[in-house]
């Protein structure tokens, strides 16, 4: 039988706030264990949480970017379960009243754009980390991560294929990185994804029994785990067996999902409103304030670049992949308005230099103004494109402007006809055999002559002019 997959994704993003969600401790990653802790995030007796306003700012930002409605009053709740990495043995989260609900975002699929619903976004605190001693039956707890703010983004079950799931994740990650609320690093766990998946016969509108998939630490793994789960569930259904509602772990090494616990074994989290935290009240002014900080989103920008600058999708996609790269592009074309030329330079020369030096666009030693100046020099034929490339490398390593380099090294293109005529005559005199060939009809030899002239002028001759002069002289010889 043919089945249709119904997929919903739960994404946790770690927020880039300086301090934790309920105390003043640093959120810095990689510090010595238990150095970024205080009585509040250690859950000591009598302490109380105080909400970090920045977390609400970030939640509003994401809610606006994903078309959610923002709750005027939302509430924190306690999720109760025992685990040593959770100092209070409850996690402060949101349950009945999340900060945002009923949104959507648009993704690009093979069949064109598709809207994926966002069911809810809520704020919560992260747990700590257990470190197991391999030599002894002992575990240690590092509470540095305890209380680092998270947003959970729950999609509607609108996703139908593993490819759509990957595309949704990519789109969402681009957004959170653009908003500068999360670094989007899936391998390091600052962007985490769980998936719910069920199958139903093609054409049916009823929902099947779902499984929840965990432990997928890359887009590729999410896609693979979903593909595996579709095969597994299809096989079960084909045999007339039932899918068990359960949580399954993705085993990337073996490429399979493994049952972890069934619904009966699920914990009862005993959610209830946290009496230590007053409800979060978000008014219009607060939303407006945050609205001003929401940038144009990556997908909108891509479409605009294609439309406004006539760029191919490939170029636009790469340019908007980094908000600062896109800004760099636009700042350059303000001064040198040939979008495709600028795009070519950024995509090839600029990105190559950045990659070689392992630096980001924000650390780029060549400013948009200086790139525009270089392109202008090429455009008005002060230098040739080829020389332009070596000038660009020089700009990158010395930090000097194109004009300075051109002047210091005397790279100005030779457009002096008298001078070039002399060189052209020299070259023709030195290569009588090739002149014979040309006159005999082998006109391709002209390339050889151009090369010789360029060599004698260290590449500074204007190639167009050289070409003209060569033809003129050769034709003169013919007519003699």
């Amino acid at each position: 039988m043919k089945y249709e997959a119904v997929i919903g994704l739960e994404v946790h993003i770690q927020l880039l706030t300086e301090t934790k969600i309920f105390c003043g401790c640093s959120t810095r990653f990689g510090d010595a264990p238990n150095t970024n802790v205080c009585p509040v995030c250690l859950g000591m007796p009598g302490v109380l949480p105080v909400l970090n306003k920045k977390v609400v700012d970030f939640a509003i930002k994401l809610a606006l970017a994903t078309n959610c409605s923002i709750a005027p009053v939302s509430q924190f709740a306690r999720k109760n379960y025992f685990y040593p990495d959770l100092p209070k043995n409850y996690q402060i989260s949101q349950y009945e009243k999340p900060i945002a609900e009923h949104g959507w975002l648009e993704i690009d699929t093979q069949n064109g754009p598709k809207k994926i619903g966002i069911r809810r976004i809520h704020m919560e605190e992260d747990a700590g980390k257990l470190i197991h001693d391999e030599s002894k039956p002992v575990s240690y707890v590092d509470f540095n991560r305890t209380g680092v703010p998270l947003l959970e983004i729950v999609s509607e079950p609108d996703i139908r294929t593993p490819e759509e799931a990957a595309q949704y994740l990519k789109t969402l990650r681009d957004i959170v990185v653009y908003l500068e609320i999360c670094d989007g690093n899936m391998e390091e766990g600052s962007f985490r994804c769980d998936a719910n998946i069920s199958l139903r016969p093609m054409g049916s509108t009823e929902l099947g029994v779902k499984t929840e998939l965990k432990n997928m630490n890359s887009f590729k793994n999410v896609q693979k785990a979903l593909e595996f789960e579709i095969r597994r569930q299809s096989a079960l259904l084909d045999r007339g067996e039932k899918v068990v509602q359960e949580t399954r772990l993705w085993d990337a090494a073996r490429g399979v999902t493994v049952g972890m616990r069934t619904k009966e074994e699920e914990q009862d989290y005993r959610y209830f409103p946290d009496p230590d935290l007053v409800p979060v009240v978000v008014d219009k002014e607060w939303i407006d304030e945050v609205k001003n900080t929401v940038p144009e989103l990556p997908r909108d920008k891509k479409l605009r670049f294609m439309d406004q600058y006539g760029l191919p999708e490939y170029d636009a996609e790469i340019l908007v992949s980094d908000r600062h790269l896109a800004d760099y592009f636009e700042e350059t074309i303000v001064r040198f308005n040939r979008p495709k030329t600028v795009s070519n330079w950024i995509l090839t020369e600029l990105l190559r230099e950045l990659n070689q030096r392992e630096c980001s666009i924000t650390q780029c030693p060549v400013s948009p103004e200086r790139l525009a100046e270089l392109l202008q020099l090429i455009d008005d034929e002060t230098i040739s494109a080829k020389i332009g490339k070596s000038v660009f490398e020089e700009m990158f390593s010395t930090g000097k402007s194109a004009r300075t380099i051109v002047e210091e090294k005397g790279l100005k293109q030779v457009t002096d006809t008298d001078l070039l005529e002399k060189v052209v005559s020299e070259v023709l005199e030195q290569h009588p055999k090739e002149v014979e060939k040309y006159l005999g009809g082998a006109e391709k030899v002209i390339g050889f002559f151009v090369g010789q002239v360029m060599r004698k002028t260290q590449g500074k001759a204007n190639p167009k002019l050289v070409n003209e002069l060569l033809r003129k002289k050769l034709e003169e010889k013919r007519s003699k």
Partner: protein, 486 residues
Amino acid sequence: MVEQWTISEIRSKLLKGAISAKELIQELLSYIENHNSYINAYLTITAESALKEAEEFDNNRKLLEEKPLGGVPIAIKDCLCTRFIRTTCASKILENFVPPYDATCVEKLRKAGAIIVGKTNMDEFAMGSTTEHSAFGPTRNPWDTDRVPGGSSGGSAAAVASGMAPCALGTDTGGSIRLPSFYCGVLGLKPTYGRVSRYGLIAFASSLDQAGPIARTVEDLAILAEVISGYDPKDTTSVKKEVPRFSEILGTPVKGIRIGIPKEYFQHSIDPEIERAVEESIKVFRTLGVDFVEVSLPHTDYGVAAYYIIAPAEASSNLARYDGVKYGFRSPTEKPDLMEMYLNTRAKGFGAEVKRRIMLGTYALSAGYYDAYYIKASKVRRLIQQDFLKAFEKCDALITPVAPLQPFKIGEKLEDPLALYLVDVFTLPASLAGIPGMSVPCGLSSRGLPVGFQLLGKYFDEEILFRLAYAYHREIAYSPQIAILS
């Protein structure tokens, strides 16, 4: 003699140089040493730090003059965190817990110059009405040492009543300041929820807990209330409201104030002496020109049921952190097994009453029961709040008994938790509503046990409670006695 002195007497004697701060503390400490062994009001006596702080005042008169409570000894209930002083909550699970921070109300007292002389006994995690549920033995009522002092702040109330401290801090979740103050014949204030920061108050039920003062005179109670009140950025449930100078409005005439008598509170079977005490006090108030009006609080009888859902539910979550992982007691295990460590630690670390309430609360929050219990109880709570708001449309304050029973014998009701829960029937509604309440002593009953009444006020109107209590005590020429200890 020091055991008799009020805060203002201590202050004037210190300022006049009639006694040095060190002498005062030394005398009090030796008095405590003589009497604490059979009252068991204190779990920890902080002699060393108290004497050191006293010496600082003796060496620096300016400091003594500047600080409103400079040199005044105080006892602190052991569920309020005290920096570098053991804070146990009267539980084995926190037997050796020493917090590196002060509760905000403690910090405020220290800043005002108060000297902590010790930490007082209580029902474990404040769960109880008798101070019998302490892991370190019961506190005895100084007026009759066979009887309970009330709870859960029984240690604080007994210390103040017996002269082992001029004043103390307690905490009140369902009556835990007002009941022991009543049973020990001292004054106790439960401020409006949000008036005093809860930071550093080891949570029992977060939506109900509130710290408050216990003292022998209205003046002393007012000074303490002034010092510990106010918004605290560390507790977002504390309220940004100006704190009135309670001690400066005490003499304001009470003529024309209208006090409501909630009829439901008098339909219970109440000890006749308690009922008579309330009636007598009403007569006194009438002579002062106070008007009385009957009001109705129809949901009063549901208070106990709602409270015993909400408070245990919150407690079950608040007490989850005591697991042996980070601090406090950890039970050894046979195998290196996490679940065994959790189970043994909590089974051995908590007493029976705490375990009973954790189980009650866990059950009430469980899937399938949450709506029927927790949500229902929250609705009842709102109805009780509305009852009070409605009543306060007709009056400025309410007068009620504090409890239906006089202090009973230690152990008498230990086997009947339900009967014990009913002792709180008159104090729970104000806790559920979050309004302020005060226990005011009248004197002794025929059996030589203290009697008194409860005053309840509107949200953030502790002022009227102070004015009424002050006028009443002045009118009857009340002079606080301390229980004579053999």
